[in-house]
């Protein structure tokens, strides 16, 4: 919204607020942002207003607000409303129009507006058209009410506000032709629609160079109806913008009075008859009960002059009853009045305290009941990955349509039109970018985030991608360690150990282009993550005895079979069996599997005889179960 300072000064003496920085600060205090200004000689500044303050969309409206904020008097406009009359038939046949005022003028001369009017309109970003049209726009920016002028001679018999009929059409001022439906509210004459109510006038009844007689319109149309019509038929206009947000029903006669005065001045002519005022329904003027205690309750302190503030804003205050002014549609509840009191008295007056909270609030997660533990688990997993040297990534939740079953109906583009069910594809893209664009040779990345399934159902996933070398060649000659599936498995097993869950329930390993990935379903793991604090198991009091055995086995034997064969021997002194050596010679169909066996008894130091006997049983079991032959002890 553009504001011309000199136009503003028609209604208020700014005094020290003529200085732009001072005015900007005052407006900010009141919640109005001055975004920019130009032309220091007669400044035009751009202000940003929130959707709930349509009354500020005009010079008079803003002057009124500045008056309240700065405690300055307003130069109220001097026009009178004029007598009422019935010189032209106007009727309302829809409940979407509450009031329609018309004024007839005759014998005008249509020509360009005077320079001062053209300048002001240009400052608002409009192109001057003719004195009549310009006058309607002028009053719009002055008093915030959209007005319209019809060529009276082109109106057939009368004007009626009604819903459009199916199939009716209208050619609008912008040259477009619109097909109408009963959802559109129109101003019509006896034969056809002549304006899309609140949005734009029709071209057939527009004021042109030959026009002599006018019907001036000031009306009130239902905001939602205007909004829908404007949206349906194109983009908002200056008129629809204001009607959408709420126009002041009470200002109609004043606006027409101002308009006719401007036209008399710039186009001559005479007013014929009085103001035609068709009222279907008066606005409900809400009476709000305003308790002084509410101010203290919400703000934390009393505001002594609450009543004065509300009166200055245009409200009528009588005891605890407050009637807001007709131009404020955002004031309908006590809380709205409290906000006005706070805003005008200044947020600087607010104290600065901390709420007394009796006890900490428990965490909340809509999917799991122990939210704090679920957070803890995710943090543990993230810590595990960063500890392993993996970089944490954050990527978009979108995916191509074939990778996710939840579809977005208005996506940014076709490749990002579903919600992902796996974190791996986007992680893979990050990995590939690091490898291909940045030439990275060692890529270890992970992400923990939500995933989406049919239902719709949300889940949590942790995923990692390994590509290139896990460790690069060291300068002392230690060779590089290229990423392999064993590394991926190692991550899963590491996580399983960290969380004390069964590795098989942890997640999956996949081969990806150029490397490997793993993914874990966090909700599934959370179900089996031990909830109770670990219980102490006493440390062994007696020493262990460690023996190594190596076997030749067939090259295609799964090594796990050797371990499980060894473990299958029922020995209460067998503490653990682990793989410590794996070796295959080129061309040899066999491979060597070395296992390290840990023996320990809880109550004694083991004897050599016991160990030897146990080893013997293990060798037999492995030989039998795996077709293995012992290499050496």
């Amino acid at each position: 919204m553009k504001i011309l300072r000199s136009w503003l000064e028609d209604f208020i003496d700014l005094g020290t607020l003529r200085e732009i920085d001072a005015l900007k600060a005052l407006l900010a205090r009141g919640g109005i942002e001055m975004v920019s200004w130009e032309n220091p000689d007669d400044p035009v500044f751009e202000i940003e207003i929130y959707a709930n303050r349509p009354d500020l969309l005009s010079h008079y409206g803003l002057a009124r607000e500045i008056g309240v904020l700065a405690g300055l008097p307003l130069k109220k406009p001097k026009f009178t409303e004029g007598a009422r009359g019935e010189v032209f038939p106007i009727s309302i046949e829809s409940d979407r129009c509450d009031r329609y005022c018309g004024l007839v003028m005759r014998g005008v001369i249509v020509k360009p507006s005077p320079d001062w009017m053209q300048e002001r309109l240009r400052a608002m970003g409009l192109n001057p058209i003719s004195n009549i049209v310009d006058a309607t726009n002028y009053v719009l920016f002055e008093f915030n009410h959209p007005l319209h002028a019809f060529d009276l001679d082109r109106l057939k018999e009368r004007v009626v506000v009604r819903e459009a009929k199916h199939g009716e059409k209208i050619s609008l001022l912008d040259g477009s032709e619109k097909k109408l439906t009963p959802d559109d509210l129109v101003v019509a004459d006896a034969s056809r629609p002549v304006a899309l109510a609140g949005v734009m006038g029709g071209i057939a009844t527009a004021v042109g160079p030959e026009t002599k007689d006018l019907l001036l319109e000031a009306a009130w149309f239902l905001p939602s109806s205007v909004r829908r019509s404007a949206k349906r038929h194109g983009s908002p206009t200056d008129s629809s913008y204001r009607f959408e947000r709420g126009a002041d029903r009470e200002i109609l006669p004043l606006a027409l009075s101002r308009l006719s005065a401007l036209i008399l001045k710039t186009a001559g002519g005479k007013i014929d008859g009085g103001l035609i005022d068709v009222r279907r329904r008066d606005a409900e003027r809400k009476n709000i009960t305003f308790r002084r205690t509410s101010v203290r309750r919400m703000l934390g302190h009393d505001v002594e002059n609450s009543e004065e503030i509300l009166t200055a804003l245009g409200a009528t205050v009588s005891g605890e009853n407050v009637t807001p002014p007709s131009w404020r549609f955002d004031l309908s509840r006590e809380i709205d009045l409290v906000e006005e009191v706070a805003r005008i008295s200044g947020y600087d007056a607010l104290g600065s305290t901390l709420p007394g909270l009796p006890s900490p609030t428990k965490d909340f997660n809509w999917l799991v009941s122990d939210a704090a533990r679920f957070r803890e688990m995710r943090a543990k997993i993230a810590g595990f990955f960063t500890g392993q040297g993996f970089d944490q990534c954050v990527t978009f939740s979108f995916c191509p349509p074939d990778q996710g079953s939840i579809k977005i109906s208005n996506p940014i583009n076709a490749e990002e039109s579903s919600l992902r069910a796996s974190l791996l594809p986007s992680l893979l893209r990050v990995a590939q970018a690091r490898r291909d664009k940045a030439g990275a040779t060692s890529i270890c990345i992970f992400e923990i985030d939500k995933v989406f399934f049919d239902g719709p159902r949300e889940g949590y996933s942790a995923a990692a991608v390994l590509m290139g070398n896990i460790e690069e060649r060291r300068y002392d000659g230690r060779p590089a360690d290229p990423a392999s599936i064993h590394h991926a498995l190692g991550l899963l097993h590491g996580l399983a150990r960290l969380l004390r869950v069964d590795p098989k329930r942890c997640g999956t390993v996949v081969a990806v282009e150029g490397g490997f990935g793993i993914e874990l379903d966090l909700l599934e793991i959370f179900k089996v993550w031990p909830a109770h604090p670990p219980q102490y198991a006493s440390l062994p009091r007696f020493p262990a005895s460690t023996k190594d055995l190596a076997f030749w086995v067939s090259g295609d034997l799964a090594v796990g079979n050797v371990i499980s064969a060894a473990k299958s021997v029922s020995l209460d002194i067998l503490e653990d069996v682990e793989l410590f050596d794996l070796f295959a010679k080129k061309g040899d169909p066999r491979k060597s599997v070395g296992i390290r066996i840990h023996f320990r008894a809880k109550d004694r130091t083991l004897t050599d005889e016991e160990i030897t006997a146990a080893l013997g049983r293990i060798v037999d079991a492995v030989a039998a179960g795996c077709g293995a032959s012992l290499r050496s002890k």
Binding site: G351, L357, T361, F385, S409, P456, E458, Y475
Partner: protein, 347 residues
């Protein structure tokens, strides 16, 4: 034979100040084939049968001691500091460093400030319905305030009203449905707006919201809470400015600016970051609108959150924005590219 003690002493002196390479030479000198000790051993034959065993033992003893000392010295040198044969300019062997992500660490930092004040952390779904995302938060249908939030809609859902949440505020409704007041929660989460990605916009970003509801919560508590938060996050040198604003779900509403991190609030300094205003907008906030409490009462089918009984405040901030201000990052897209040269600067 009388030479033996002196020989031993010489050897030990040499060893004590030898460097690693010198130790090899010493070994050869004193223990090698052509060494004096070996000579002495060969000369044993000339001795009497009585003396032979005694001197033989002494020579062997000496040889053993020299060897032990050499080994000890070598071990010492291999394990000790710079002055003794270690090249300190060589890079150390280190493992790869896993980098954390500034979005995650910013969320952790902000949540940490509030959990210390007794807030709980609340999380809700990314997929929401119209009621939770708009209607219950006092966005009436057909109202221009909804246009400011371009929404991603999803196919399906009851009556086709599913969408991707445009803010984290729906979680306020969810938690008030489940819990009794008083409560204080902080809500981190991913949010979605149908904006094309550029330096300051992204279709996907993160917010952190706060909500405190109780019997005597006032706007002064809101101001005090945010002042405390700003002091902890930005530091005591930064000031906050509260300005009236409008959100459908708060009344009174405010926008909060922090003094510019770049030019320290010197207005009109031509600072690119704050465009010369001296202030940067960081938070939106306000007192919970009574209509929101009424919506909660309808959901709960009770009057526990009757706006005559309780009041509350809420505030919200953009995570990427906060991170961009704290670290001087100028392009939002960098957070989602995950370039290690970017991550490493903030890890």
């Amino acid at each position: 034979m009388n030479r033996l003690p002196e020989l031993l002493r010489e050897a030990l002196e040499q060893i004590a100040k030898a460097t690693l390479p010198e130790l090899e030479t010493i070994k050869v000198t004193y223990l090698g084939k052509k060494s004096e000790l070996k000579e002495l051993l060969r000369g044993l034959g000339k001795l009497s049968a009585d003396d032979r065993p005694r001197f033989g033992a002494a020579v062997n003893e000496a040889a053993r001691e020299i060897e032990e000392r050499i080994n000890a010295r070598r071990e010492h040198l291999e394990n000790s500091g710079p002055a003794e044969g270690f090249d300190s300019t060589l890079p150390g062997f280190s493992r790869r460093l896993g980098l954390s992500h500034p979005i995650v660490s910013t969320i952790e930092r902000v949540c940490g400030i509030f959990t210390r004040l007794g807030y709980g952390i609340a999380e809700g779904p990314d997929i929401e319905d119209d009621a939770h995302n708009f209607t219950d938060l006092n966005f009436p249908p057909d109202h221009p305030a909804r246009d400011a939030q371009d929404t991603f809609f999803l196919n399906g859902g009851a009556g086709g009203s599913l969408l991707l949440r445009t803010h984290t505020s729906p979680v306020q409704i969810r938690i008030m449905k489940e819990r009794m007041p008083p409560l204080a929660i902080i809500i981190p989460g991913r949010t979605y707006r149908a904006d094309a990605a550029d330096a300051t916009h992204s279709p996907i970003f993160h917010q952190i919201e706060g909500l405190v509801v109780g019997e005597n919560i006032t706007m002064a508590d809101l101001k005090g809470t945010l002042n405390t938060f700003a002091r902890e996050l930005f530091g005591p040198a930064f000031a906050l400015r509260f300005r009236p604003s409008f959100f459908p779900f708060t009344e009174p509403s405010a926008e909060i600016d922090v003094s510019c991190v770049n030019c320290a609030g010197e207005a009109n300094s031509g600072c690119r970051v704050c465009k010369g205003t001296g202030w940067l907008e960081v938070l939106g906030a306000g007192m919970v609108d009574p209509d929101v409490f009424e919506a909660v009462c309808r959901r709960r089918n009770d009057r526990v959150y009757d706006p005559e009984k309780v009041t509350g405040f809420a505030f919200g901030m953009g995570v990427e924005r906060i991170a961009m201000l704290r670290h001087g990052i100028d392009d939002l897209r960098l957070f989602y590219e995950n370039d290690p040269r970017f991550l490493a600067q903030f890890a």
